[in-house]
Point group: C2
Chain length 199, copies 2
Amino acid sequence: MPDIFTPDFSVNRKIRENQKNQKGVVLWFTGLSAAGKTSIANALETLLAKNNNHSYILDGDVIRKGLSSDLSFDKKSREENLRRIRHVAEMFCDAGIITLVTFISPFQSDREKARLLLKSSYVEIYVNTSLEIAEKRDPKGLYKKARNGEIKNFTGIDSPYETPQYSELVLDSSNKSVSECATQVFNYMLQKKYILKVT
Amino acid sequence: MPDIFTPDFSVNRKIRENQKNQKGVVLWFTGLSAAGKTSIANALETLLAKNNNHSYILDGDVIRKGLSSDLSFDKKSREENLRRIRHVAEMFCDAGIITLVTFISPFQSDREKARLLLKSSYVEIYVNTSLEIAEKRDPKGLYKKARNGEIKNFTGIDSPYETPQYSELVLDSSNKSVSECATQVFNYMLQKKYILKVT
């Protein structure tokens, strides 16, 4: 195997962050399918864009069509999928981008690996909805298929969701609207100085 | 396998490009090891940053340490490595970033796959140096190791480099300096309106 060298580029993370007037960060949304992760991330991106912040969503469905299209949905493949996401998120963060990751990420061990890799750039956001409510929403009909046995290893049905213990933020998406949850994250980012209010 | 849906996000590529006052594009640098790909990309990033453009380098060495740390260097692994890079580059481009990819990418078929995926966002830049000159430079001592048989499948020694036929740009890095090559790319980007001169 050839040796691996890390190049020392002239334009670094600090320069890219200053250019964008923000800090690169990874907002890692975890929660059941249909908890509202993608909807909240989308609403948050709109708030960020209005504030002239630079963001990007690493979405599970998009990644599954591209980068991870070679993987299946068993435990090992899900772990490999998350390993890849972690490294892609690391690069986006290094690019100075506010990186929104919206994956169920049901296992504590996988979330801890993300925290270890990304260090202080990792912000875990637990989108907390009861299974009952998520299953009632079921916008993609996936819970129904999982109950019928058409989908195996579905989180909440025949695969566990390990409740996060150390999240930086918990969003009560059973009782709060998408807009309220997005505003809660936006205010957290202002408070922690990842962004500055410009409008 | 669960169905895959493509979310329709509110903040799209167009909005992100306008925010950055540039077009998202993938500059795909191909050429022998030690041809100057990384040095030219680095110099180009400096020019871009001075012009307040937003860029990011997807570097082979960095990717090999992170996203592709599970892969070896045989033909199949190199193809998988490039498949992943293509999809990561697609996301960076979609984020409105000027994305610099610096990989040997020796096979025409892999480069064509990148062109097919990225379509008009793909700009191939052939960093053209003779094997003789690249081997004389040998900053990492890799050619020496390849000649000694310590490294197998090394491009130019015991693995072929298929000369690009359809590159948008060819840089003569045998006879031109790193700075001259970077300026050539910068001027190309102005001419094709990926960027506007602001300074």
